[in-house]
Symmetry: C2
Subunit: 333 residues, 2 copies
């Protein structure tokens, strides 16, 4: 058996099953970040993300500045998904010898732009030569033990909601891969910005954590459908997504129309939106709406948590149910 025969999810599951914790690990392998005991009611969060040229990005389709920005953004998003405050970053780079030193400078400038905005310190790293660009960031954060957001506590009767709007990053990727679409340049610019410079929802993660009303949360790195299933599965529940409620970015609809595909597919399976996906008791809807409005934060209800035996479903605008699939990017398949 080879990795490509079993696929990413099964590999991670086998690693998770064999994991064992000797110290004060509150959340281990599987959630957006690990959480370990720290001090006075606070947990430390630990997360890492590996970006590989040719898999996660194409060198001639993203500026080094945006690459630096995005490398940190995807890690910050993991801390946001736990409701935490980011702190310290370690940056490992594998770089080809023929890369321009100016490119590396721009990479760090892009990363520091975001690091400074969120008071993150880049305290160390490692550097290696490599045939192509490899970027690995590890990031610490902190969150109150009583307020941490985790993926595995969704309850039957919860509503499922997302911050912002979906499908921007996938539409951006589509314009990169099919430049012959000849879309208006403003449309391309806007969807590319979602793809290259995702906005980590740290502020929203903190608001949700402090609300005390959120039962489960994740960031949308791998596609909404896959993340919904992960929340449901790890909570031992089912989930129903209402397709016509999904907030889809206007320009994404334009790209989808030009490509003659369903924009729902971008929103559901595209991935890399880095919005927050979260669940809370339907009884708290009004209260959460008021609280978030005061904080100038938007969210959209897109579905509900149901009993485990109802599995994972999506309901279209005609009321037709079909199975929700984890179609987000799956390494090795």
């Amino acid at each position: 058996m080879r990795l490509q025969d079993v696929g990413e999810i099964s590999i991670i599951e086998s690693v998770r099953r064999r994991s064992r914790y000797l110290n004060n690990v509150v959340i281990g392998i599987g959630d957006d970040a690990a959480a370990v005991t720290w001090k006075n009611g606070w947990l430390q969060l630990l997360t890492t993300d590996l970006l590989v040229e040719g898999v996660h990005f194409l060198r001639d389709r993203i500026s080094m500045r945006d690459l630096g920005y995005k490398s940190l953004a995807v890690n910050l998003s993991d801390i946001a998904a736990m409701g935490g405050i980011p702190r310290y970053a370690l940056v490992s780079l594998g770089l080809p010898g023929d890369l321009k030193t100016a490119g590396l400078r721009e990479f760090y400038e892009g990363m520091y732009e975001l690091a400074d905005a969120y008071s993150v310190d880049i305290v160390g790293g490692d550097l290696s030569s490599s045939p192509f660009i490899i970027i690995n960031l590890a990031l610490t954060g902190e969150v109150e033990e009583s307020q941490i957001l985790r993926q595995d506590r969704a309850q039957v009767g919860d509503l499922v909601a997302v911050t912002g709007a979906l499908g921007g990053s996938a539409a951006g990727l589509a314009t990169l891969l099919t430049p012959e679409l000849s879309l208006p340049s403003e449309t391309i610019e806007r969807v590319l910005a979602f793809h290259d410079r995702p906005h980590p929802r740290l502020r929203e993660g903190r608001i949700l954590a402090k609300s005390g009303m959120v039962n489960a949360a994740k960031d949308i790195s791998d596609g909404l459908g896959k993340e919904c299933i992960t929340i449901a599965q790890s909570s031992r529940k089912g989930v129903i997504i209402w397709a016509d409620r999904l907030p889809i970015i206007t320009e994404t609809k334009q790209v989808a129309e030009r490509m003659k595909v369903d924009s729902l597919d971008f929103a559901l399976n595209g991935g890399e939106d880095y919005e927050l996906l979260f669940t809370f008791s339907a009884a708290n809807l009004q209260q959460l709406k008021e609280l978030t409005r005061e904080e100038n934060m938007d969210f959209t209800v897109i579905g509900e948590i149901v009993a485990e035996d109802l599995c994972y479903q999506i309901v279209d605008s005609e009321g037709q149910h079909r199975p929700l699939k984890a179609k987000g990017y799956n390494h090795f398949q």
Copy 2:
């Protein structure tokens, strides 16, 4: 200008110069690990290491089990160099789809062998497809603020010492790269063990930290010469190494003899020995000897810290001085 035109040291130096710290960073970019304020007189240590197939290892020359072991060992060695206790690891893997699942299992078994021995928890990670194997570990640790070992506090009049013996890993690599040497299999096995399964000097790091006598320390990942220069340079001192005092592994001498090279070169420039290099006041030599003997720990004095204007020198057995060069592995050159 390209990275290969400026070299690793200059790249790291430019990154370090532009770094800025907003939070409680005690040691930032440059030492074996970063140190940030933790709790009640303790600092948290943060370190990361990237291993790239074809650069750090060859897939057909190391078992997946040893690769897992070594990936953690090199990170543990960074914590040892700071006098710390290791805690939590994040493991990022880029893997080719045709890799056998059994290979990945062996990789984790090798890593857990060492993780269990030192009570390290593997709490998370990331997984990506990749054309070749990429391994990045990030590791946290902790150390008493008053006892941390750092590279930049060497004093004039300090003696320079190392744990264990040198040149094992480099000789192991040499037997891999020149199999036609036809050495006794026990010799090959022994030097390969140094190369594939380095022993992180965590116990020794703690003894040295607690002694309160060590002024500066590093682990020998890049070659003794380069590490001595780093200690001297970051402490704004000079260093003199006494060539005939270097403890060289017996089998390394055999390999060097067969290859008709000077075994001193393996010991001085080979790298990946993962022994500890440290300095302490000559006045404390007897006391440190007694203390370490009680703990069943060995070390060898190999040189002295001198004034900065004496630069970096090595003295051979005839008393001839020549400049000490940072010949350890230099990425991009």
